[in-house]
Amino acid sequence: MSNKNAHAVEHSGTDYMLLGKILVLLMFFTFATITITELDFGTLTLTVALLIAGVKSYFVIAYFMHLKHEGLLLKILVISVFILYILIVLITLIDYYYR
């Protein structure tokens, strides 16, 4: 299943051009993360920062860590981890917003 797909990627050769483009994109987002600290989004500051971090993680996991070429099971597992992480942050915020 997933092994086969991973091998398929190896055989077809890694697309360095694509990885290069993603690297540039990631650098852009890093720059954006720093820039937004200067802007005042009020209570949304945290949300915006986490959104940018989330998009960056997506690119790293999907392309650099090859999740895009893995089987469905691993994709579900990784997505579940993100859902869990979001839940943990949201539940913590219940305390902070209502305190």
């Binding site: 691993l74 869990l84 943990i88 539940i91 219940i94 305390d95 209502y98 305190r99």
Partner: protein
């Protein structure tokens, strides 16, 4: 070495000659079975250090006021006792010891996925443990914050908190790497034909545990680094005097430490699930429900951490929300208990030591679990928070649950691990002594806790003395039983009678191997049964 072709001459993993001999053959081994034994020797040694510290506290409790130690010494002793028992005994306990030995075997594999990483995890475990023990002898005095390291006290006390937290950080890495190793092992090392739902239930529980280790442990890692940064560089994360929020520490601490409770208990439940069908010679009742309830516990267990913080000043809405989630997490645990009992129903029960410990586990776990519900409800929690009631509750869960499951597992698998058998009669007597001693030690703590005896105090009002003395006597009965048990096991492992390959009539893969197994476990591809608990 076997390459899967032809018959290979049997040499047990204990006698296998590698590049090195003697102690070096152990310190450089990458065999999951030897690494498991090395973990076991570490865990058992630290367990006894922890027990001695526990007993000194029980001696202190024999009279009100100072008996053998001052208040500050008591603070140090309960902190060190807690750190040792949690980070060095129960977290690595079942998963690193029995998980390492039996996970690959139960799924028909030759080893874990990353043997070198496995050995590295053990070195991290030993390094962290040594650091934790050394922190007790530093000039600044032993850490006195409790094993919970609550800020802002921990960021301001003059005792050696930094060393203890560094130790916990290193121990955490050991746990993360073991978790990672086990997840990959379950995904990649299963024998052909071993699908997820053909796996025995111990691997299922280890798999769920491994996810918690991998995802939750980094949270405590970073929290402890933040604490150290606050102490060293005065960065205000948690200390209100520096602009920090102490409740944030508690959130971060329990986001790890509550799931960590499931790191302790899930593999314990897994081991019990292996033992019960064997000693009832009956198929496990509700295989899928037990397998999936492990995942459910791991998942929901991540979301209930706030029940440790009802009295910390958290918002009212968060309190009822956490209380609700806490009641939900009890459901999958109860599913397991019902399934165990239904497995026993009409089984041909054989009261051997592993089964006696398994029964004790169920009894003690039910008491720990139901008192947990009492603590999970906000209204009752605020009455008994930080009292001896909590001390009794968590000892019933971690010691009565995980500790007794560890004893069950060692009595179950020792013949396979060493190829020798211990004295069954002595083991049975020790099991009964341990059970009685345990209840005498901890049950009175529920009662005096409800009457207002606070936890973490060396002193108490005179009215609690009879119960404290009763409890301390229980501590010594228990200690006697533990020494008897370990002496019998050590004697059995060294010079006991030769054990047959399948002494208990078990149906899972480890019992198809010779005792002790060979280096690569399976010389031929194992036959995978549709249901691992098929006793026909």
């Amino acid at each position: 070495m076997s390459n899967g072709v032809g018959k290979v001459e049997y040499v047990s993993y204990l006698e296998h000659k590698g590049k090195y001999t003697g102690i070096m053959s152990w310190l450089t081994t990458m065999d999951h079975k030897r690494i498991s034994l090395m973990y076991m020797y570490g865990v058992m040694t630290f367990f006894f250090v922890g027990v001695v510290l526990g007993l000194t506290m029980k001696v202190e409790h024999l009279t009100p006021g100072e008996t053998i130690m001052k208040a500050q010494t008591y603070n140090g002793v309960f902190t060190v006792h807690g750190i040792i028992m949690i980070f060095m005994v129960v977290i690595p306990g079942l998963s690193a010891v029995f998980g390492n030995f039996f996970l690959p075997i139960l799924i028909g594999g030759k080893d874990v996925s990353f043997p070198k990483l496995n050995l590295f995890s053990w070195y991290l475990y030993i390094t962290g443990s040594i650091l934790a023990v050394v922190s007790q002898f530093m000039k600044a005095g032993p850490p006195d914050s409790g094993w919970t390291f609550y800020a802002p006290y921990s960021s301001s006390t003059g005792t050696s908190v930094i060393m203890a937290t560094t130790a916990a950080f290193i121990l955490g890495f050991s746990s993360i790497l073991t978790g990672l190793n086990f997840i990959v092992t379950v995904h990649r090392m299963r024998a052909p034909g071993m699908k997820f739902f053909n796996m025995p239930l111990f691997p299922w529980s280890l798999y769920a545990t491994a996810w918690i280790q991998l995802l939750a442990t980094p949270v405590i890692g970073i929290t402890l680094v933040m604490l150290i940064a606050e102490r060293l560089f005065k960065i205000g994360f948690f200390d209100p005097a520096l602009g920090g929020d102490p409740i944030l520490f508690q959130h971060l601490f329990w986001i790890y430490s509550h799931p960590a409770v499931y790191v302790m208990i899930l593999p314990a439940m897994g081991a019990i699930t292996e033992i019960i069908p064997t000693f009832c010679q009956k198929k496990i009742y509700g295989y899928k429900a037990i397998a999936l309830s492990s995942l459910a516990i791991a998942g929901v267990g991540f979301l209930v951490w706030g029940h440790h913080m009802y009295t910390s000043g958290m918002s009212e809405n968060a309190r009822w929300f956490f209380s609700l989630l806490t009641f939900i997490v009890a459901v999958p645990s109860a599913i397991k208990v019902f399934n165990w009992i239904l497995t026993m129903y009409k089984g041909s029960i054989d009261l051997k030591p592993p089964f006696l410990y398994a029964l004790s586990f169920i009894f003690l776990f039910i008491i720990g679990g139901t008192t947990g519900l009492l603590l999970g409800s906000v209204a009752t929690n605020v009455q008994v928070h930080d009292t001896a009631f909590v001390v009794a509750h968590f000892h019933y869960i971690i010691f009565g649950g995980m500790g007794f499951a560890f004893f069950a597992a060692i009595h179950y698998w020792l013949p396979k691990m060493y190829g020798r058998m211990y004295n069954i009669k002595i083991a049975n007597i020790a099991a009964v002594i341990n059970f009685i001693g345990f209840n005498i030690l901890y049950f009175p703590q529920f009662v005096i806790g409800m009457q207002g005896m606070p936890r973490r105090y060396y002193d108490y009002p005179a009215e609690f003395q009879p119960a404290q003395i009763f409890s301390s006597i229980g501590g010594f009965i228990l200690a006697f039983g533990l020494v008897m048990m370990v002496w019998n096991l050590v004697k059995g492992a060294r010079s006991g009678e030769k054990a047959p390959d399948n002494p208990w009539g078990g149906s899972t893969l480890e019992w198809t191997l010779p005792s002790p197994p060979s280096l690569e476990n399976f010389d031929e591809a194992p036959v995978i049964k549709e249901n691992p608990y098929d006793y026909k």
